[in-house]
């Protein structure tokens, strides 16, 4: 075998790419895993993870210089001193915002698997039939029964902690023991259940943090510093989970600093033959050959690679024959909710920091609940006692003020909605040929926005949460909303959707590009609709399923 030839090439080392590499290696294939960023080694490279806050020069704040250099990251809570190295360099890697679009990228080995929120929910049968039932976009070519065994498969390996709830619209999975709601959250859950007669539910967020040792990973130590990388392997990441499994096979080769920017396509055989890579260290291009290619570069970047590929056959790129490549961009819209205080628990506190909060699954447009919009939303939040950051009305200066701040403050509760975004052909990304990145490659232009259905939904997200909190005895309930533009949910998806008809979809039901069946796209790009659950678990399941199919059909 020549040095540049492998059975399979996987582009991207994040959640999907890590899974593709693991599954393909374990099935005996030689795999080249390409990562555009640099190496980032488990434990050794988690530079701040065992540091104390006072050891950081700015105690977690970003500097004025960083604010200028990373304007997109500073659109929200992603800008933290500990993780600034994680984010893609915005000067080297620009993109065009035709409409406001927040793209939080991590170009480093492991990608956003290090930085993800870890909330892990199955989709339900309802979610896979929603498009067909509502006459929106195109139907999913896969149903829940087909994907359920693959949810089992990935949950068992990744380690998902959660509680079984028996809900048809949010199926239970293969759970490790759940984290625990605190005393206030438990009471709020009971009051909501009573008030809504069992139609609404609040329970602990299902999360890819392990509460017991799992696959040689010691597990969560309740520090809640996941984003800095966990030295205890407390959560699922490429580093903690899929990469070591793939390495164990002896079949894996990793090439960092490698931007895969083009899939090589053989017109006669109508198949891909490999990929072309830009080495970001020496600016040279290299060619690698393989029987199959898995694109797992993140939803937008996988579409970008396709747009750059086989343009002599299809001017708009490989997979563009349907006219849907780059279209139907979706996200989960959030940063909107309510908050308030809750009395009567002054003699209660808690110890340890959970890496999750509570979850309220969707209830809108389920059963007898009918709305003036389609689909629905879930909520994520928590109750906690406020800390030294709080305002103390009467005390301003001196000893008594200090004493007060050293004690926990009042109990507060708050949550944000996570709303489904409908696929819309008008919401799209495309190549901006007027602008190039540091390596002379064309960049993406983003032209997407929330439409009427999402805007209507946001009103109910607030109204329902206020009503639930008030029913649960929360005082001084206030709505809140902060900046959101598409992409900021960090759940980008839909840019190479799957379907049953090559005329209206980019991929078939096995994540294969219709126009080049040995190219599989298994990151968020394949999603035909968005539901409102956090999507990474679904990417894992489809990736494992596609890898199984690919190897069986080699």
């Amino acid at each position: 075998m020549a040095d540049n030839t492998f059975d399979a090439i996987v582009v991207g080392s994040g959640i999907s790419g890590g899974w593709a590499a693991k599954e393909l290696c374990e099935k005996g294939l030689t795999v080249l895993l390409l990562e555009r960023g640099g190496p980032y080694e488990h434990i050794k490279d988690y530079k701040t993870a065992t540091k104390e806050i006072w050891e950081l020069p700015h105690r977690g704040s970003t500097t004025d210089e960083q604010k200028k250099k990373y304007p997109v990251i500073h659109r929200g809570w992603a800008a933290q001193e500990q993780v600034m190295d994680a984010w893609a360099n915005e000067e080297d890697c620009p993109y065009t915002e035709v409409k406001p679009f927040t793209w939080w990228r991590s170009y480093r080995f492991g990608g956003r698997s290090i930085l993800w929120g870890r909330q892990s929910y199955r989709w339900s049968p309802m979610d896979f039939v929603a498009n067909e039932k509502d006459g929106i976009a195109i139907p999913w070519p896969v149903n829940y029964e087909e994907i359920a065994p693959w949810y089992d498969h990935v949950e068992k390996f990744a380690g998902i902690s959660g509680s079984k709830q028996g809900l048809a619209h949010l199926p239970d999975g293969q759970f490790l023991p759940a984290f625990e709601l605190n005393i206030v959250e438990k009471d709020v859950a009971a009051r909501i259940k009573e008030k809504y007669k069992g139609d609404r539910h609040l329970f602990i967020g299902r999360v890819a943090n392990i509460t017991v040792p799992h696959n040689e990973r010691p597990g969560c130590q309740y520090r809640s510093r996941c984003w800095e990388g966990c030295p205890f392997g407390g959560y699922f990441s490429t580093q903690s989970s899929t990469y070591p499994a793939a390495m164990k096979t002896g079949k894996l080769t990793v090439r960092p600093y490698s931007i895969a920017h083009r899939v090589l396509y053989d017109k006669d055989k109508k198949k891909a033959t490999g990929v072309e890579v830009m080495d970001t260290e020496n600016n040279q291009t290299y060619t690698f050959k393989s029987k199959i290619v898995f694109l797992c570069a993140s939803s937008l970047n996988s579409a970008w690679i396709l747009m750059n590929s086989a343009t002599d056959v299809w001017p708009d790129g490989l997979g563009s024959s349907s006219g849907e490549l780059g279209h139907n961009v979706m996200d989960h819209h959030y940063n909107i909710g309510a908050e308030g205080e809750i009395e009567g628990y002054e003699d209660k506190y808690y110890f340890g920091k959970r890496p999750t909060g509570f979850y309220i699954p969707r209830f809108a447009n389920i059963g007898s609940d009918k709305r003036d919009f389609l689909r629905g939303y879930g909520y994520q939040g928590s109750a906690s006692r406020s800390g030294w950051n709080r305002e103390i009305a009467e005390l301003n200066i001196g000893k008594d003020f200090k004493d007060q701040l050293c004690e926990p403050g009042e109990w507060r509760i708050g949550a944000t909605g996570f709303g489904e975004t409908l696929p819309n052909h008008e919401n799209r990304i495309y190549l901006d040929k007027t602008k190039k990145d540091k390596w002379g490659l064309p960049v993406l232009a983003m032209d997407a926005e929330l439409k009427e259905n999402e805007i209507k939904m946001r009103k109910d997200i607030v109204a329902d949460l206020i009503a639930m909190f008030e029913a649960a005895g929360v005082k001084n309930v206030r709505p809140w909303e902060t900046y959101y533009s598409i992409g900021q949910g960090i759940h980008e998806m839909g840019t190479a959707r799957m379907g049953s008809d090559p005329k209206t979809s980019v991929l078939n039901k096995w994540n294969q590009v219709w126009d080049a069946p040995n190219v599989f796209v298994t990151d968020g790009a394949f999603m035909t609709s968005s539901a409102c659950q956090n999507p990474s678990l679904t990417y894992m399941a489809f990736t494992a399923r596609a890898a199984d199919y690919a190897v069986k059909n080699l």
């Binding site: 996941c226 959560y235 340890g352 030294w388 001196g398 926990p408 507060r412």
Partner: protein, 231 residues
């Protein structure tokens, strides 16, 4: 642990909303597992396009800021702000993280605070007694809160002006940004610096860097200290 900013400890409605935002962002942070929050964009609603060259802090300035901090959070049976080297912390944060206009406001504030002390007590801040310092800072704190109360009207006016200019075709027009009261800056930096210092976290809070377990229903009685890291 939360990164704090100088708008935080003021009381006007907008500022309170901002503080609530902080809390809420913290809750999101909890839900998403991000322990550290630096959501400046949400908090200020804007980014400052200009950064400044840092102005120099003298050793006298550091000593002065140590005393301001110590007056806000004095040594008791637990360490005070001076023990936490609050003056040096303020220097680092103002130099590295503040915008040029905020740096200017902060430096001017050092002289202003001293002037106010001369007016109130006929002595410089460094020579004033702890009681004199405290009564001065209580007054400045209330002044800072009153000043912050003007922010919503200021922002509304600026937003209106920006809109008008943009409609006139002056697309490059940028509205003027609110600058916080110097005392709000000092107080906020004192609190965040103290409670993120080794002295503050180990000496004034309950310090448990690796909890290793969770207790979701822990009895609490008034006077029990907060856990460092649960803030």
């Amino acid at each position: 642990m939360t990164v704090t900013h100088h708008w935080q400890l003021t009381t006007d409605t907008r500022q309170l909303n901002i503080m609530d935002r902080r809390e809420l962002i913290k809750m999101i942070a909890l839900a998403t597992g991000t322990a550290f929050v630096g959501g400046e964009f949400f908090l200020s609603g804007c980014k400052n396009p200009e950064a400044g060259t840092s102005m120099e802090f003298t050793q006298d300035d550091i000593a002065f800021l140590d005393e301001v901090g110590e007056t806000i959070l004095p040594k008791t049976n637990t360490p005070g702000a001076k023990d936490a080297k609050i003056g040096e912390f303020m220097r680092t944060m103002v130099n590295d993280c503040y915008t040029a206009s905020d740096q200017k406001a902060f430096h001017t504030g050092i002289a202003k605070l001293n002037d106010e002390c001369n007016k109130m007590h006929s002595t410089s801040f460094m020579k004033a007694t702890p009681e004199q310092r405290k009564s001065l800072l209580v007054k400045l704190d209330s002044e800072a809160k009153e000043y912050a109360g003007k922010r919503p009207a200021f922002d509304a006016e600026q937003i209106k002006r920006e809109k008008e200019e943009h409609e006139k075709g002056n697309s490059g027009f940028q509205r003027e940004k609110w600058t916080a009261h110097y005392f709000s800056m000092m107080k906020q930096l004192t609190i965040s610096g103290y409670f993120t210092s080794e002295e503050g976290r180990k000496g004034a809070l309950r310090y448990t860097p690796v909890p290793g377990k969770i207790d979701a229903d822990l009895p609490y009685k008034k006077g029990d200290r907060a856990f460092a890291g649960l803030d």
